[in-house]
Structure formats: C-alpha cells, structure tokens
Amino acid sequence: MATKVLGPEDLVIVDCDVHVHDPPEALAPFADMPWRRSMEHLGGVKQRYLDIPGYSTSLNIDPPFPNDGPNARHVMTATQMRDELDAMDIDIAVLFPDHLLRMAVFPQTDYAAALGRAYNAWLADMWVSRERGLYGAVLAVPQDPEDAADQIRKYGVMEEFVGVYLPVAGVRPLWGERMYDPIYEAAAEMGMPVMLHSVGLIHPNFPFNVDHMTSRLTRHPIQHEFALMANLFSMIGSGLPVRFPGLDIVFTEGGISWVPYVMWRLDKEFAETPAEAPMLERPPSSYIKEMYFCTQPIEEPDRPSDLATMIDLFDGRDHVLFASDWPHHDFDHPRAVMRVPFEAEVKRKIMGETALRLFGISLPVPTA
C-alpha cells in the first residue's frame, strides 16, 4: 500500500519569523511624548516600501525595476495574518516587525527606547493571541539595555510573548558585548530565547558598510548571513554561552549553510589562540551546536539531500527551526523546507516540535 507523502497539513507547523506591518501612525498612540508627535507627523509623510526617514531608514540606493521584487506585501491586522498563515497550513507564528527591523541605528537613546516600548505595547494590544496562534518577541532596544530588560520582564509574564527580539541591522557594538548583559539576564530569568534578526540596510557599522557594492544581489547576503556570523563571533568571543548557560540563542533569516563554516573556523582559531577567549570551557563548535538556526531563506541546492547533509554537519536535527518570513519578498512556503529528504520524525521536529519545546507553547492549538 502506498504511503502518503507527509504534507504541511499533516503536522503542527510553527513559523519562527513572520512580520507585522508597523507604520508610525499605528504605533503613535502607544508612544510617549514627545516621540508620539514625531510618529504622528511621519504618518502623513509619503512612504516607500519599508523606507521612512527617521523611522526605518534603509538608504536604498538602487533605481527600482519591476523585476527587483515587486512583492511589497504587508500584513496589517492579526486577522489578515491568521488568514494568510492558514493558507500555508501554518499553525503558530512568532511575530517580528517590518520597519523596526532597522531600529538599532537610531543614535537618540530615548527615542529608541520609546519606539521599543510603543512597539511592545502595540504588539501586546493588537496582535498577540493564543487563540490565533500568534506569539510575540519582545523588542529589546540595544541603545538602552536597562529599559529593554524592564520590557522583557514586563511582557515576559504574558504567555503570548515567547522570545526576545535582538535587532541586528546596524547594531554597534555587536550583541556579544557585556553592555547588553541586562538584556540577557532578563531573558534568562524569564526563560525566553533571544532571537537575532537582520534586514537590508546600508550603514557605516560593519557589516552594513556595503554602499560600494553595486547590486542587491551582492549586498543582501552580507546584510543577513554575514551580520549573523559577526554577531555569533561576538557572542562566542565574549563567552556569552558560558556567562548565561541557560540562555537559548536563535538566529533568524540567514538560512543554515553558513553554520558549519563558522563552527569549524572558530574551532580552528580557538585551537591556536585559546587564551583569546579565556572564558570558553570547550571549543566554540560545542556551544554553536546548542544554538538554534531558522531555515529561511532556505538554500535551494540542485540536490535537496545536500541540505540534509548540511544540517547533519552541525548536528542540527534538533536545532533547526522552520521560518517563512511571511510576507516578505523572499519568504519560504513550508513545502520548500519539507522537501529536504529527512524522515518524518525529523521533519516534525524542524517544522514545529522543536519550536514548541523551545518557546514553551503547549498544544492543542486553540482555534479561533
């Protein structure tokens, strides 16, 4: 008798990265003065796709063509998100912002902190819902780690908030530095994983200083994978996994193929200069194997089996998490990940079971 091929509708799918649209006028009612006035003002300014000066500054330097990605989709409400996730058989999702992916670059600490508080309050009020399977990640502003820690403790008591979002685009210093320890202390205290997420950005801070590169084709992977690598290096170099041994660390929107390289390269370096990282008790790879890596943008090699091999290279069967990045232009449908030729048990883990355990989300999933 023929065995039915496992499809997205046959298992619980947890999507670790979807994006809510966060225009300034929507967040303004949740913002403190005087920043509310700025956000109300920005609401009347003509906007391009995820590009608002003073709010989401991309420094987009390319002339637009229709073929460059016309898919400027936005998800404006929780109801819309639920409907669109249903169309992909996605049961549960972790929400990230659109515009505020770029919030790490703001030099005004008070403004950044106000944006973070407004976003978290807006997310709590308008979006997160166990019934809808929509869960939040508390935005932790790097400019004000103490305020971010307060936010993590405030929203971490809500079961609808399951992670802490660390903005990567333009962040300086990188996320391994000890100035961020209040954020990690709060996340560890609340039992919430930290989730690094980058975005396309041109900015002086490494590795976003790509203004001299001539196409999005060449810049985009640097703004994502290289940025995640740089932050992972920073975390290993500062001994973050040793200093916060119970803290789970998740990398989103970088695919998975860079992980073996980083693991082996750092091990090689560590063998030569272990005194450079005196707090590490083991080779870097052993810590990296305890971290989590989201699938999107899943690589698409000619042989899908190569992806299974790649995941096994970092013992990743229990540490890879499905993410779609819906509704962004390079989103992955669940079936793009499900075609990786793992056995059903592993597919169930990658597509949802590992995330349920990581985020402490219990089933059955309530229906709206």
């Binding site: 898919n71 989709r73 992909m88």
Partner: protein, 134 residues
C-alpha cells in the same frame, strides 16, 4: 485529450491572461501577438500562482553591449508574484535558470475560438490548486 474552451480570439488580450480550469488545475492562456501560450498556474520554484504575476521585460548585459545593462523582451517575461522568478512567456522556460519551466499545454484555434488541449487525466490534477496567497 480534452479541449477546454478559453474564449474567442478577441477576448484574449496581450498583457491580460485568461484563466480556465481542468479539474483542480488552473491554466492561464496568454496572447503574444497572433499566437497563444497556455501554462499551468503553478511556479516550479515554490508552487506559487505564477500566472498572476507581472508581465514585463528584463535586463541583460553582454559583450555586445559593452557589458552595459539593456532592457529586453518587454511583454515577454512573466514575473512570479511570490519570489519574482522570471519566465520566458514564449517558451515557459525560466530565464537564466537551472532548466525549470512552466508546464505548458497546446493551444488551438477553431472558428475564432481558442481552446486549450489538456490531458484528460492530468497526473497532477488531484493536487490542490495553488495557495491563494497575495
């Protein structure tokens, strides 16, 4: 072979595909001058609704242009709305791809009526239609 009526020749305009169904399968018929092409509305990449995408051109550069960017194939490039993958509307092949191609069907015209010839039982007809995402 089953013939599915699409409409009269005049009802199918360039730049605006006409959609017909064969079981669960959606097929789009495109007009290219005096010719027609029919493709399944399913992108070979991630099975998105490719035929609802934009009809446009593309940019190329070659030694003959001094490696400067040129705009070519206006009206002959179908851009998938999910991931912007480009397909040649004349052949159904992905432009500069890895051999991917849209599933095509023969089109015939009889007495000014356009028909798509669909296999009476498509091997894919039992699968779900393309997910109705924006």
């Amino acid at each position: 072979m089953a013939r599915v009526l699409v409409g009269s020749v005049d009802e199918i305009q360039e730049g605006t595909p006409v959609f017909v169904h064969s079981g669960a399968m959606e097929i789009a018929v495109f007009r290219l001058g005096d010719e027609f092409r029919a493709y399944r509305n399913r992108c070979p990449h991630q099975q998105g609704p490719v035929c609802h995408g934009t009809i446009t051109g593309t940019r190329v550069a070659s030694a003959s242009s001094g490696w400067k960017s040129e705009w070519v194939r206006e009206g002959c490039v179908l851009l998938c709305r999910w991931h912007a993958m480009e397909f040649d509307l004349e052949t159904g092949e992905r432009i500069r791809g890895r051999g991917e191609r849209l599933r095509s069907f023969p089109v015939s015209v009889t007495d000014d009526q356009v028909f798509v010839d669909v296999a009476s039982r498509s091997p894919n007809a039992r699968r779900r239609a393309a997910t109705p995402l924006p």
